[in-house]
């Protein structure tokens, strides 16, 4: 089934050479395995998001359709693929020439180092290849038992909610969860009546607070009955929940196989999440290293033109989107330069002499250390927030654009630093998805779900929202509501047996 094969002797030699350069530069990577495949195999792998075995789903077929058409008509070619596992697997394409293979290998060592060291990846499942294959086997079993239509339909409904997960959970290991539960217990205990503080001062304070509480309670006696009921009703969930998938696993009326499917899809969504929130850094880092390794070590004189051509192809700028490869590599280079020359800190920022600022060079040579450190601790948001500078924006020719309703087209809006930064950051917030929390599973005491959208100036796509609500309704089996702002009005979309209603 898996049609890739080990690389030949020459390429193994090449790998040794490139790995030597990676060591020399201090890259820290998982054991690296390269496999060779033909274009059809690499299309399959790419369609399955890098993994040789996934659960059966038409979506992979669609991606395969697009990949193979893209390849056949010469629109796109996948040079390589690398996946976050230990050992780290990467695939090379048979038809690539020698220089391509070098370039790809150097690039892959960059990714590998990033996967291993970036904090956001620290809790990802490094045995995901096996896990994915197991997921496939499970889903296949469910399909055999319950029929393909039923299972696929359910998977589609869940995929529709796939982005309702919580980034913070990337750091939720069992240990962290236990420690927090402990803390919460402690907290609850300290606030309970039985708790006897050791410290005299705080005892006085507590007594005061308690008496004050009683007083307030007395005043509010008339409302007490109502309030109690409300408290009872709103118990689930206690706090707004971002991880809607796990909430559904726990509370939705599901059959065993259904909650297992949600678990599978949720696990995969969390596995891919770090890659979504470090796209710029990850590609920038890998590109930085392929460029560094190629131009300072691995390239033969005869290969330079070819390399420049391929590298430029990857770095191509687009007016519609920022190219993560381009912005990433340039930012890393910029940071390295700034920390080599000391162009940071109070003195530099407060310097008003433009000539002096331009020629600023303290020659402290901390650039390389700095970028290694950044690749460990940052994600795209903090990376942009901390290191994007006005000078950089100008050099990189960044601009913001917006839709002009008069001309019915997107037009360049501003080249203002703050505006650009704001726009990039808002695009990256919550991995580019709207922030939506589940605030109540017993809305209006009718076991309905209430979702709340934190509106940040951009409306939701109404048609997609309606369909997504429908999918949630199918899982929850009771009406579902979404509170949002649409066309400058606060509205609640409600999806029930009667279809979609809008409540103003």
């Amino acid at each position: 089934m898996l049609r890739s094969k080990p690389i030949n002797k020459e390429l193994r030699e090449l790998q040794k050479e490139i790995q030597g350069y990676a060591d020399e530069f201090g890259l820290d990577y998982f054991p690296q395995i390269f496999e060779m495949c033909d274009y059809d195999t690499i299309n399959i792998l790419a369609a399955q998001e890098g993994f040789p075995s996934r659960y059966p789903h038409w979506r992979f077929g669609m991606q395969y359709d697009q990949m193979s058409k893209g390849y056949r008509f010469g629109l796109q070619k996948i040079y390589e693929m690398v996946i976050n596992t230990n050992p780290c697997y990467a695939y090379l394409l048979e038809v690539n020439n020698w220089m391509d293979q070098k370039l790809v290998m150097a690039h892959v060592y960059g990714h590998n180092d990033f996967f291993k060291n970036n904090a956001w990846f620290s809790n990802t499942d490094r045995k995901m290849m096996d896990t994915m294959a197991n997921h496939g086997a499970k889903v296949r079993r469910y399909i055999e038992k319950y029929g393909v239509e039923k299972v696929e339909n359910f998977i589609d409904s869940v995929l529709s909610l796939e982005n309702l997960i919580n980034i913070d959970h990337l750091f939720e290991t069992d240990e962290v969860i236990r420690a927090r539960e402990e803390k919460e217990k402690q907290f609850a205990y300290e606030n309970s009546i039985e708790y006897q503080p050791v410290d005299k001062n705080s005892e006085a304070l507590k007594t005061y607070l308690r008496s004050k509480n009683r007083l307030e309670k007395k005043n509010a006696a008339t409302q007490e009955v109502e309030q109690d009921q409300f408290l009872l009703a709103s118990k689930i969930p206690e706090k707004p929940v971002k991880d809607v998938l796990s909430f559904l696993m726990e509370f939705a009326p599901l059959e065993d196989w259904q909650s297992d499917v949600i678990g599978i899809l949720r696990e995969e969504a969390y596995y891919f999440l770090p890659q979504r929130i470090t796209k710029i850094m990850n590609e920038g880092w890998a590109s930085y290293w392929h460029s560094k390794i190629m131009t300072s070590r691995a390239l033969e004189a005869s290969e330079i033109i070819d390399f420049a051509d391929k590298h430029a192809g990857v770095m191509v700028m687009s007016k519609q989107n920022i190219n993560p490869y381009k912005v990433g590599i340039e930012l890393f280079r910029d940071i390295e330069h700034r920390w080599d020359t000391g162009k940071f800190g109070k003195d530099y920022l407060e310097c008003n002499d433009m000539v002096e600022k331009h020629n600023w060079n303290k020659n402290i040579m901390q650039g390389r250390d700095k970028i290694f450190q950044i690749r460990k601790t940052h994600n795209d948001i903090s990376f942009i927030d901390e290191f994007l500078t006005p000078e950089f924006c100008e050099r990189a020719q960044l601009f913001t654009y917006k839709y002009n309703a008069k001309t019915h087209r997107f037009e360049i809006d501003k080249r203002d630093f703050q505006a650009i930064k704001q726009k990039i950051l808002s695009g990256l917030t919550n991995f580019g998805s709207p922030v939506i929390k589940l605030v109540d599973a017993n809305f209006e005491n009718r076991a309905e779900i209430l979702l709340e959208h934190q509106h940040n100036g951009v409306d939701l796509d109404a048609q997609y929202a309606a369909e997504t609500l429908r999918n949630l309704f199918q899982i929850w089996k009771r009406p579902v509501n979404l509170a949002t702002t649409y066309d400058d009005k606060e509205v609640v979309f409600k999806y029930s047996m009667n279809g979609l209603e809008t409540i103003d």
Binding site: G61, D65, V82, K279, N321, T400, D459, D461, Q463
Partner: protein, 373 residues
């Protein structure tokens, strides 16, 4: 064993075609139409389904781009329209592009078309095949005119000779061909089957056919031409316009004329029949008449006359007769009903198709050409 993705793939194809999972059909993006752009440029179909998720509406969103340009200058295309030629090693994270523009040749396009629409190859009429012999320069000989001398082979031959007699000196690699070394391209007669086809387009240009309707006919005929050109080596096109009377015109006039007045469809059919009998002997030609109208005819008597001509003259002569009815605000669409009642899909040779709007063009082409007649 095939990779399991092939079954995912065939499932996806079936969903796209609306055979499975009808609820997803509404999310199939409309990148499906192959649109001619400029001379040799086309937008090829890349159907995709986006699973609905909570996402931002696109228009108010805007974004950040890179490049030169002053404020207010347009940013071409839509956001996310472009898939960089980079290395998408994390596929599936980006919302993919839905339509792609690409240079493809007519030949390639026809094969894409046949794949998308599953068009069968046409079996040309058996008796209409003409064997034609053609000279093709595919082999090499030792004699011929200088103009056909094959230099590379000549020098190769010379080198071979020099090496074999030991006259070749690698340090002074001079190769001197002699008369006997000369090699020439030579021709071989190849018998090729030739088959001829003629497409006769008829269009109602009476007042009720608007520009939109004509545009549909033009696009439709573009694709029919493309497909038939792909199938036949030698192909003629004839154009007839009619209102109450019919006349033959050239292609340009055909698409531009707008007349007013009544409609007598029989006039066009008579002319069509006349063209066939005069210029295209049935035994030698594959004949494809297509008629486009909005379905209005002057009287039921005329419709009877039309059916008569079709039955006795046009249908026996043609491989296929296509009637495409373009919906218009003014047309009654009666003619389709009449034809439908008369042939009721019994006839192999007549294909009726209703074309509601531009979106329906591809489906209609499939109806016309899907039988492989």
């Amino acid at each position: 064993m095939d990779h399991p993705i092939k079954s995912d793939h065939s499932r996806f194809r079936k969903i796209i075609k609306g055979k499975l999972r009808k609820n997803l059909k509404s999310f199939v993006s409309k990148g499906q139409q192959i649109v001619p752009k400029g001379k040799d440029k086309f937008t090829i179909p890349m159907p995709s389904i986006e699973i609905p998720k909570f996402k931002f509406g696109s228009k108010s969103e805007g974004g950040v781009g890179q490049g030169d340009g002053a404020e207010g200058e347009p940013v071409q295309g839509k956001k996310g329209d472009e898939k960089g030629q980079g290395k998408p090693e994390k596929a599936g994270q980006d919302e993919g592009s839905k339509e792609l523009e690409v240079d493809v040749s007519l030949e390639e396009l026809a094969s894409i078309l046949s794949e998308e629409l599953e068009l069968p190859n046409i079996e040309p009429k058996g008796s209409a095949q003409i064997d034609a012999s053609k000279n093709r320069y595919t082999s090499i000989g030792t004699s011929g005119p200088d103009s056909l001398k094959h230099h590379k082979r000549t020098f190769k031959q010379s080198l071979k000779r020099q090496i074999s007699i030991g006259a070749y000196d690698p340090s002074n690699p001079s190769i001197i061909p002699t008369r006997k070394d000369y090699r020439f391209r030579s021709s071989k007669a190849k018998i090729e089957k030739q088959n001829n086809a003629v497409v006769i387009y008829m269009m109602d240009v009476s007042g009720s056919m608007g520009d939109e309707q004509k545009e549909i006919v033009r696009t439709e005929s573009f694709w029919i031409n493309l497909w038939l050109k792909h199938q036949y080596e030698d192909i003629d096109f004839r154009y007839i316009i009619h209102d109450a009377t019919a006349r033959e015109v050239d292609e340009e006039v055909f698409f531009k004329t707008r007349e007013s007045g009544g409609t007598l469809i029989s006039s066009a059919y008579k002319l069509c029949q006349q063209i066939i009998t005069e210029d295209y002997p049935v035994s030698d030609w594959n004949i494809y008449p297509f008629h486009f109208s909005d379905g209005d005819n002057w009287s039921s008597d005329d419709t009877k006359l039309c059916l008569d001509i079709l039955n006795t003259e046009i249908l026996p002569a043609s491989n296929m007769f296509g009637y495409g009815q373009v919906e218009s605000r003014y047309g009654s669409g009666q003619f389709y009903k009449d034809l439908h009642a008369a042939y009721n899909e019994k006839s192999e040779k007549i294909v009726l198709s209703k074309i509601k709007d531009r979106e329906a063009i591809l489906g209609s082409i499939k109806e016309f050409l899907g039988k492989g007649n």
